[in-house]
Amino acid sequence: MEQRLASTWRMSVNEKKFIESSLLSDLRADGRRPFDYRRLTIKFGREDGSSEVQLGNTHVMAFVTSQLVQPYRDRPNEGTLSFYTEFSPMADPSFEAGRPGEFAVELGRIIDRGLRESKAVDTESLCVISGKLVWAIRIDVHILDNGGNLVDAANIAALAALSTFRRPECTLGGEDGQELIVHPPEVRDPIPLIIHHLPVAVTFGFIGKESIMVIDPTHLEEAVMGGRMTVTLNTNGDVCAIQKAGGDGILQSVIMQCLRIASVKAGDISSKIKNAVESFNTERALRKIKRHSSSSAVEVSEPAQKGGTELSRTHVGRLNSTPEESGVGQSNGMEVDGKILQQETSRRDSGAQSFIGGPSSW
């Protein structure tokens, strides 16, 4: 309540009228058309599981951390996924430090529902010992700047952070075979989470008497609008969650129209997330190689440029056929010991012509 008031106070009647009347001719205050999304940039931190999302003026950060805990009694074979929001008072004058307000709780619940109820993250693979130890994944979302549409930005940040997060590998060992060994990342490569699909939230605002629909409302539009609807969809066209908590009434046909528009936008956004994650993973893999190569005997000429990714992937394909390597995926392939590397290098030397530039990162 208080939050809504504060943002309304700053707005004059004239400003409100301006937004409402310009929408009648399909114009928005920031130059977009009603169904344009703002510019989205996704950045990652140096370590795994952190992301920074900028959606227009909205700035959100997400961190994912994991911890070994005892599972819930009714779900002994499932890890847990929890979601926390932090509305920093510097982001908006209406955010107060201390307990999360109503809106913070709603935002958390929308994203939480979208991720958990649609089973986007495989929680059963987070089980270590049934009934005793599971991984608890915690997502912390920090709102750094409120430029409107926090839900979508926070959702994208959470998805991006989850897709780059890796938990340490752990095995049972010791004398009795019951001791838990958590391998540090230097010894065994951390494992990424299994994510089945990306549920992307798309928010609509309904403004004015005619309930004109706009996508991705800014904070100014949020102060004017009479209703809001957030739909969470994945690329398969499944609806994962919907939240329209009161406000102006809209017709069912409009809801279905929103869903169709949202599914297109969700496709765009999820491909953007996937691309960003992919380039992060590539970079991560390359970083890793440099560290290994300094210790191994392989000659390194110069850092790889673009295109190295593709070639290094073909390497992985080959390495997988060797008995030592059972894992799949890029990162596993990178973690080969010196012997294979040597093998690989000699093989490479024989066919040096075909490897220009790329493999020098090895």
């Binding site: 309540m1 208080e2 008031l5 109503e102 809106f103 709780v105 709603e106 958390g108 619940r109 529902r113 109820e117 649609s118 089973k119 209703g227 609807m229 994945n234 066209g237 499944d238 609806v239 994962c240 969650a241 919907i242 939240q243 329209k244 908590a245 009161g246 406000g247 102006d248 009434g249 809209i250 017709l251 069912q252 809801i255 279905m256 869903l259 169709r260 599914s263």
Partner: protein, 241 residues
């Protein structure tokens, strides 16, 4: 688990498109300006409305409209396991917000500037669809308090289990992990004001389920109108008009 038998009956013997029995009573809390008791099968809720009255916290006062507040609580004995839940957990905070915004959509708040309306809803027995029942109870209580409204708001839920759309889920069906769509409509214009959905559902099926829930809302609206009409007649008689 089988939620719809081959004969087309659900666990509690209903047909897929059948609602639970509705029962409503106006006037459940003596001190309140308006109150109501609402039952949807085994889900039982009570709602009380205070106001319009003076704003308690002056800093929250609105100069062009009434301030609407809502508090949703679940009694400790309302669920199967009698666990004491902390007051103001995330779920009930969210439901309070949802109910408040839904009721705000139909109250003519601009007629009562600088005043406050409090809605309290309490779940006495929870058997699925508590937020729908709470909204229906709150509508009745608001009408009983004589607060000007554009329209009634009614709500109903629907789900999708065993590839069948089911109307008005009970607790067992609700906790099966399937999709759960809660719809709140303004029955005169059939506009949707509240829409919440969980879990995963393809878009075309979602449309059917939402349609079913909307039909449920209309049925609830008819029942609520009847109850209100009866109460009004009773009052007429009492005043000897």
């Amino acid at each position: 688990m089988e939620f719809v038998s081959p004969e087309g009956l659900r666990l509690d013997g209903r047909r897929p498109m059948e609602m639970r029995q509705l029962r409503a009573k106006i006037g459940a809390v003596d001190k309140a300006h308006g109150s109501a008791y609402f039952e949807m099968g085994n889900t039982k809720v009570i709602a009380a409305v205070y106001g319009p009255r003076e704003v308690q916290n002056r800093s929250q006062q609105l100069n062009d409209q009434a301030l609407v507040r809502c508090e949703y609580t679940m009694a400790n004995f309302s669920t199967g396991d009698r666990r004491r839940k902390p007051k103001g957990d995330r779920r009930s905070t969210e439901i309070s917000l949802v109910i408040r915004q839904t009721m705000e959509a139909c109250i003519m708040t601009h007629l009562m500037p600088r005043s406050q309306i409090d809605i309290f809803v309490q779940v006495l027995q929870a058997d699925g669809g508590t937020r729908s029942a709470c909204i229906n109870a709150a509508t009745l209580a608001l009408a009983d308090a004589g607060i000007p409204m554009h329209d009634l708001v009614t709500s109903c839920s629907a789900g999708y289990l065993n590839s069948t759309p089911l109307l008005d889920l009970n607790y067992v069906e609700d906790s099966a992990g399937g999709p759960d769509v809660t719809v709140g409509i303004l029955p005169k214009s059939t506009k949707v004001t509240l829409l919440q959905m969980d879990s995963k559902l393809p878009m075309d099926i979602f449309e059917n389920v939402m349609q079913l829930a909307t039909e449920g809302c209309k049925a609830v609206a008819n029942y609520i109108r009847e109850v209100l009409l009866e109460k009004t007649k009773e009052r007429q008689k009492f005043h000897g008009v």
